[in-house]
C-alpha cells in the first residue's frame, strides 16, 4: 500500500519547515547583532547570555506564532473537508437507489466544486448510458415479439409430434422476453421516481391468483388463496408488486408436481408467502438464482429464467426482501411495515 498524502500532515510539515527556517534566520540575526556586545564578557557569561537571548527572541516568538497557526490550520482543514465526509455518508446511504443520484453541492466549499460537478456530470452520463442500454434491451424484446408470434402460429399449423415440443421452446422465449420488458419497465419507473401508491396486498394476490388459476387448473394442479379479512397495505407500485408475485407463483406452479397444490398466503404482517409442493429452495440456491442475471447464464433447466432476479429487484425497490424457507417450502415477499 502506498503512503497516502494527507493535507493535515502536509500542513504540519510545512509549518515545521517554516518554523525551522524562521528559527535559523532569527538565530543568525541574534548572533549578528549581539556578537559585538558579548566580546567584553567572559566565555561562561557569554554562553548563558546567548542562550537566554535566543530563548527570548527566537524560541518564544516562534512558539507563539507556530502553535496557534498549526491549531487553526488543522481545524480549518477538518472543517473544509467535512462536507466531503458528509457526502460520502450520503452516497453510501443511497446504495440501491443509484439511478438519478447526484452529490449535493450546496454545502461544498468553492475549491471542491469543480470536482463534485465533474463527478455529478459523470453520474449523469452513466445514468444516460444505462437508460440507453435498457431502452435498447426493451426495443429488442419488443421487436422479437412479432417474429415470435409468427413462429408460434406457424408451429400451430404443423400437424407434427415435434411441433408441441418446439412450442414449449417458443413459450420459454416468450417468457424471457416478457421478463426483459418487465425489467426495463421497473428500471424506468425507478429512474422516473414515480410517487408510490397505497397497495392492498390482498387485492394484488386475488388478481394474480385469479389470472393464473385457469393455467394452473389446466395443468392438473390446484391453487388457493388464504387471506384475512383485513388486507395489509404497503406503499409502492401495484403493477410491479403483482409482477413479483406472479413470477413467484409461476415458479411455484412449475415446481409442484401434477395433482399438487400451490398456496398463497397474505400476512401475517406486510408479507405474501407462496407455498408449493416442490423440493424446497435453499438460501444458497435462491442466492444463485437471484445473482444469475449478472452472470448471463439465463437458460436454466427449470425455466425460471430471470424470474427470481426480477422479484428480488422489485422487492429491493420497495425496501423489502425475498426470502426462502426450504423446510416449509415457502418463498416470502416481505415489505416494510407502513405506518
Amino acid at each position: 500500500m502506498t503512503h497516502r498524502r494527507s493535507v493535515s500532515r502536509r500542513l504540519a510539515r510545512g509549518l515545521g519547515l517554516v518554523g525551522l527556517i524562521g528559527s535559523i534566520l532569527l538565530l543568525a540575526a541574534v548572533v549578528f547583532f549581539y556578537r559585538l556586545s558579548f566580546v567584553d564578557l567572559n566565555a561562561k557569561q557569554a554562553t548563558a547570555r546567548a542562550i537566554n537571548e535566543m530563548l527570548e527572541h527566537v524560541g518564544l516568538p516562534v512558539l507563539v506564532l507556530m502553535v496557534p497557526m498549526a491549531f487553526v490550520g488543522l481545524r480549518v482543514i477538518r472543517q473544509a473537508f467535512m462536507p466531503l465526509e458528509e457526502a460520502a455518508v450520503e452516497i453510501e446511504a443511497a446504495r440501491g437507489h443509484e439511478r438519478g443520484y447526484r452529490i449535493d453541492t450546496s454545502r461544498m466549499p468553492a475549491e471542491a466544486l469543480p470536482f463534485t460537478d465533474a463527478v455529478n456530470d459523470l453520474l449523469a452520463r452513466l445514468d444516460d448510458a444505462a437508460a440507453r442500454q435498457e431502452a435498447f434491451a426493451a426495443d429488442v424484446a419488443h421487436e422479437l415479439r412479432a417474429p415470435l408470434a409468427v413462429l408460434s402460429l406457424e408451429l400451430d399449423r404443423l400437424d407434427h409430434t415435434e411441433a408441441s415440443r418446439l412450442k414449449t421452446d417458443v413459450a420459454a422465449m416468450r417468457r424471457l422476453i416478457d421478463q426483459l420488458m418487465l425489467l426495463a419497465q421497473i428500471d424506468a419507473a425507478t429512474a422516473a421516481q414515480l410517487a408510490p401508491e397505497a397497495v392492498p396486498l390482498t387485492d394484488v394476490a386475488t388478481d394474480v391468483v385469479s389470472l393464473l388459476a385457469p393455467g394452473v387448473i389446466a395443468a392438473g394442479k390446484t391453487i388457493a388463496l388464504e387471506a384475512g379479512a383485513e388486507s395489509p397495505i404497503v406503499r409502492g407500485r401495484r403493477e410491479a408488486i403483482a409482477a413479483a408475485l406472479r413470477n413467484l407463483v409461476e415458479n411455484a406452479v412449475r415446481a409442484t408436481p401434477a395433482g399438487g397444490a400451490v398456496q398463497v398466503f397474505v400476512g401475517p404482517g406486510c408479507a405474501i408467502r407462496v407455498k408449493d409442493q416442490g423440493p424446497g429452495l435453499s438460501s444458497d440456491r435462491l442466492h444463485d438464482l437471484i445473482r444469475r442475471h449478472s452472470r448471463a447464464d439465463h437458460a436454466s433447466k427449470d425455466g425460471a429464467g430471470l424470474g427470481l432476479a426480477i422479484v428480488e429487484r422489485i422487492m429491493a425497490a420497495h425496501g423489502g426482501s425475498l426470502t426462502t424457507d426450504p423446510g416449509a417450502r415457502e418463498l416470502t415477499l416481505r415489505f416494510p411495515e407502513s405506518s
Partner: protein
C-alpha cells in the same frame, strides 16, 4: 361467426385468420384503419381483433371514435406492447379484452369465444361450452341430450359461469350478480347454491367441469 382482424403484419394476420378459421370462425383481414373502416361499413362483425400500432393511426383511438359514433362489436386488442400501463389504457379506451404478442392461437380463439359470450345486442341467446348449453331466454340448460333442471338462482349462477367460462369468477361478483342489494346474503349461500349446481351437473354427466379456487371463487372449464 364473423371476425375482423386488423393487423399490419401480413403474415401474422394471415396466420391468425387461418388458425381461427380452423376453429370455426370466418375471418376478414384489414391491414390498416382505412381498410378496417370500409370492411366494417360492408359487413357486420361479431368481434374485432385489433393491433394497436397501425400504419395510419392508433388502434385505440380509432376504436374509441367508432364506439362513440355507433355500436361496435366487442374488440380484443392484440399488441406487442407489454407495458402494464398499456393494459389499463386499452381497456379504458373501449377495448373489451387484451392479449400481448406472441399469442397462442388457442388462447386467441378462447378469448374471442369469451367476447362472443358477453351479453349485447348481437349476443346469441344460447351459450355453449362444449356439450353444455344454456338458453338465456328459456333459462334452460342441457348437457348433450340431458336436460338439467335448475332453480332460478342456479340458472343465474350457471349463466354467469358459462359467460365467463375459462376465467375465474370471484365470489364477490357472484354475490353481486345473484343477490339484489337489500337481500341478505348468508356466508354459505353461494357455497350452497354452487354445491347444488355441481351435483346437478354431475348427474347430467358434466362432472368435473366446475372448479373451486379456494379463497377466490369458481371457474367453469372451457374444455374437458
Amino acid at each position: 361467426m364473423r371476425v375482423l382482424i386488423v393487423e399490419d403484419n401480413d403474415r401474422l394476420a394471415k396466420l391468425m385468420a387461418e388458425g381461427l378459421q380452423r376453429r370455426g370462425f370466418s375471418c376478414d383481414v384489414a391491414g390498416n384503419l382505412t381498410d378496417a373502416d370500409s370492411a366494417m361499413d360492408g359487413a357486420a362483425y361479431d368481434a374485432i381483433i385489433l393491433d394497436l400500432g397501425l400504419p395510419d393511426g392508433d388502434g385505440i383511438d380509432w376504436l374509441g371514435a367508432r364506439r362513440r359514433a355507433q355500436h361496435v362489436a366487442p374488440a380484443l386488442i392484440v399488441t406487442a406492447r407489454g407495458a402494464l400501463e398499456d393494459r389499463v389504457a386499452g381497456l379504458d379506451g373501449g377495448a373489451d379484452d387484451y392479449v400481448v404478442k406472441p399469442i397462442e392461437i388457442e388462447e386467441l380463439a378462447a378469448r374471442v369465444r369469451a367476447l362472443l359470450r358477453r351479453p349485447g345486442p348481437r349476443a346469441q341467446t344460447v351459450i355453449e361450452i362444449g356439450a353444455l348449453s344454456f338458453d338465456t331466454a328459456a333459462r334452460a340448460a342441457r348437457y348433450e341430450n340431458n336436460a338439467i333442471d335448475l332453480s332460478r338462482r342456479e340458472a343465474d349462477l350457471l349463466e354467469l359461469l358459462m359467460r365467463r367460462a375459462g376465467t375465474v369468477v370471484r365470489r364477490g361478483a357472484i354475490e353481486d350478480a345473484l343477490y339484489s342489494f337489500n337481500e341478505p346474503v348468508t356466508p354459505n349461500a353461494v357455497e350452497a347454491a354452487m354445491s347444488r349446481l355441481r351435483r346437478k351437473l354431475d348427474e347430467a354427466g358434466a362432472g368435473g367441469k366446475l372448479n373451486t379456487i379456494r379463497g377466490i371463487g369458481y371457474m367453469l372449464r372451457e374444455t374437458a
